[in-house]
């Protein structure tokens, strides 16, 4: 299965009556990459995914897969497959019949389609559950079945709508690794919608941060995390402080803030009071009140912190290297 193709959105727009859910976005999802559409609820990420899947009519613009314009094709003949948020397994048929469903619709003979379905169940390690009903499976197992059902159509692009949100935190991390492994092995593109920045950073080759129906920033996880392009991205991705320097907004990562005891030491420019100290294991977060600069967070490594612990109420001085301050677009 190496039918990986580029997927391109060209000024793709979705309108519901008067409201614009997705505003003319352009993006190319490179063949064989893991992309995450990241954003708060209502940012248009799910609408974008559903337009790619063909479950939502595109109001304007086009969607191209390889050389083909798939904008108006029905879901099953686009070369995409979708894995639904609540998995949407058919409750009245067994796991193997769920996986074989699309082949049954095509009229593939029963032994042939069941054999093929078993191969996919093997891929997701669910062969021993083939004859069970979906209700008899745990959330993680249902997800594997849903994955197998989507992959049996041999899509070029697999679309995942918040696939991990229904799982408990422990299982989420486990399934996250498995999704990534599967994507590497299959070599096709995965487009994954999520509102969790951790998930996006851990999984994606390419993060697309959306807000208000527009793409705020797209790039590799490191680029997005290290150098957020806008104030929204800096705040949404977390771990950043947005500061004003000479009237311009800049983002400084919380772990790049230097906390000093003495004024003027190492070019410290900001004074702040320590409001709270949060111990997080490998680091300690200081909640700071920097007066007119607002509330800031500084992350200090635990060794540094415990060498000279800072009490709540202490006044500290903050510094950062110029190269760690990233200018933000308005």
């Amino acid at each position: 299965m190496t039918n990986a193709l580029d997927l391109e959105l060209v000024a793709t727009t979705k309108r519901y009556g008067e409201t614009v859910a997705v505003a003319a976005i352009d993006h190319t999802f490179k063949a064989g990459t893991y992309s995450c559409l990241l954003g708060p609820s209502g940012c248009g990420k799910s609408s974008t995914l559903r337009m790619i899947a063909g479950h939502e009519q595109v109001s304007e613009g086009d969607i191209l897969l390889g050389d083909a314009n798939i904008t108006d094709r029905p879901p099953a003949s686009r070369g995409t497959a979708m894995m639904f948020q609540n998995y949407a397994l058919f409750p009245h048929i067994s796991v193997v019949d769920n996986v074989a469903f699309s082949q049954k619709m095509k009229g593939v003979a029963k032994p042939v389609r069941r054999k093929r379905a078993m191969e996919l169940l093997d891929l997701v390690d669910m062969v021993s559950y083939a004859e069970r009903l979906p209700d008899q499976l745990s959330g993680g197992q249902q997800q594997r079945v849903a994955l197998a059902r989507a992959l049996i159509t041999e899509p070029s692009v697999l679309l995942l709508d918040e696939p991990l949100s229904a799982l408990d935190p422990f299982l989420r991390i486990k399934m996250r690794l498995e999704l990534k492994r599967l994507q590497r092995e299959l070599g096709i593109s995965f487009i994954h919608v999520t509102h969790s920045q951790d998930e996006a950073l851990a999984l994606a080759d390419d993060i697309i941060v959306m807000n208000g129906g527009k793409i705020e920033q797209a790039g590799s996880p490191r680029d997005v995390f290290n150098a957020p392009a806008t104030e929204f991205v800096a705040r949404f991705i977390g771990g950043h402080n947005v500061l004003r320097v000479g009237g311009e907004a800049v983002a400084v990562r919380a772990d790049k803030l230097d906390v000093k005891r003495q004024a003027g030491e190492g070019g410290a420019t900001l004074t702040a009071a320590v409001k709270d100290v949060e111990y997080l294991g490998s680091s300690v977060n200081l909640a700071l009140d920097a007066g007119s600069a607002g509330d800031l967070t500084a992350a200090v490594s635990d060794t540094v912190f415990f060498a000279d612990p800072i009490e709540i109420g202490t006044t500290v001085f903050l510094a950062w290297k110029p190269e760690d301050a990233h200018a933000l677009a308005v």
Partner: protein, 292 residues
């Protein structure tokens, strides 16, 4: 030493459950079980022209089951039942499907659903009798068909016929099919339909592979309503057939009119067993427990 007796909590919980179940058990026992036991008992009693008295005879059953009239009547009643069930199932499924899947907004769904119940604001008998002026020899149906030139003379089979009986049954009982089917359809996750479409299913394939299997419990509950109502009916058959068709319910009502209570009781017991058997068979096909 403490003198208070310690009650085992599980025993206590058990006693509370028994207490909670008592009121319902009393009501069912007094108004359902006791009457049925009475009927079963009386069905073995003897009777003459002016009285009936305790006895233990099987004559009532023997007479009922060996009479050719009984068998012909059962056949007729089953025919009404099958026809009514077919039409109610098709109409009920279609209406429920429309309400559940084509009407998008919940307020409109509720409004249309209430519209379906409007006929129930009048009594059964009035709804049934109002067909008579419509279907009669010089009724609205015949006169409009004649004025349209479709027919030259009035159709005789419109009223006081099996057609009229089935029509009235379908009119009276279709809603009993709509409600449970609508109920199960509303519980079908809409993303299942999308998942089916994603897998390349056509509209018809979605209907036969997803919606009908998932709506089965509703269809079955509606079927139980329709089957029991039609099997036990005596008044619709009498009015709509003009007294020309018999049904099992009419046999019983005639026997009661002749004060042959033991015979009526025996007929009732046979009918009850028949209906229970039919429901038993239906339940074997579909598990409705999830719906209750």
């Amino acid at each position: 030493m403490k003198t208070t007796k310690k009650i085992d909590p599980s025993k206590r919980a058990e006693r509370v459950s028994w207490m909670l179940v008592t009121p319902l058990a009393c009501v069912l026992g007094f108004f359902l079980l006791l009457p049925i036991l009475t009927i079963v008992t009386v069905s073995f009693w003897n009777f003459n022209e002016w009285s009936f008295f305790p006895d233990f005879i099987l004559d009532n059953y023997v007479y009922h089951l060996t009479s050719a009239v009984t068998w012909a009547t059962y056949l007729k009643t089953l025919k009404f039942m099958v026809l009514t069930w077919c039409f109610c199932a098709v109409i009920g499924f279609t209406v429920a499907y429309f309400l559940a899947f084509h009407v998008r907004s919940l307020p409109v769904q509720i409004a249309l659903f209430l519209v379906c119940t409007i006929p129930f604001w009048t009594s059964n008998i009035i709804r049934m009798i109002s067909w008579i002026p419509f279907l009669g020899r010089n009724g609205i149906a015949n006169s409009s068909l004649i004025s349209l030139g479709v027919i030259d003379e009035p159709l005789e089979w419109l009223l006081y016929s099996d057609f009229a009986v089935v029509l009235a049954f379908v009119h009276l009982y279709a809603l009993f099919m709509v409600v449970p089917i609508f109920n199960t359809m509303m519980r079908i996750d809409k993303s299942l339909i999308e998942a089916a479409r994603d897998a390349g299913a056509s509209g018809l394939q979605i209907l036969t592979n997803v919606i009908i299997p998932l709506a089965k419990p509703g269809i079955m509950i509606g079927s139980i309503f329709v089957v029991t109502l039609v099997m036990g009916d005596f008044i619709t058959v009498r009015h709509m057939s003009g007294g020309q068709s018999a049904s099992v319910g009419r046999i019983i009502s005639n026997e009661i009119a002749l004060l042959q209570y033991p015979a009526a009781a025996a007929s009732s017991v046979v009918l009850l067993c028949t209906v229970l058997l039919m429901i038993g068979v239906m339940m074997r096909f579909v598990d409705i427990r999830k719906e209750l």
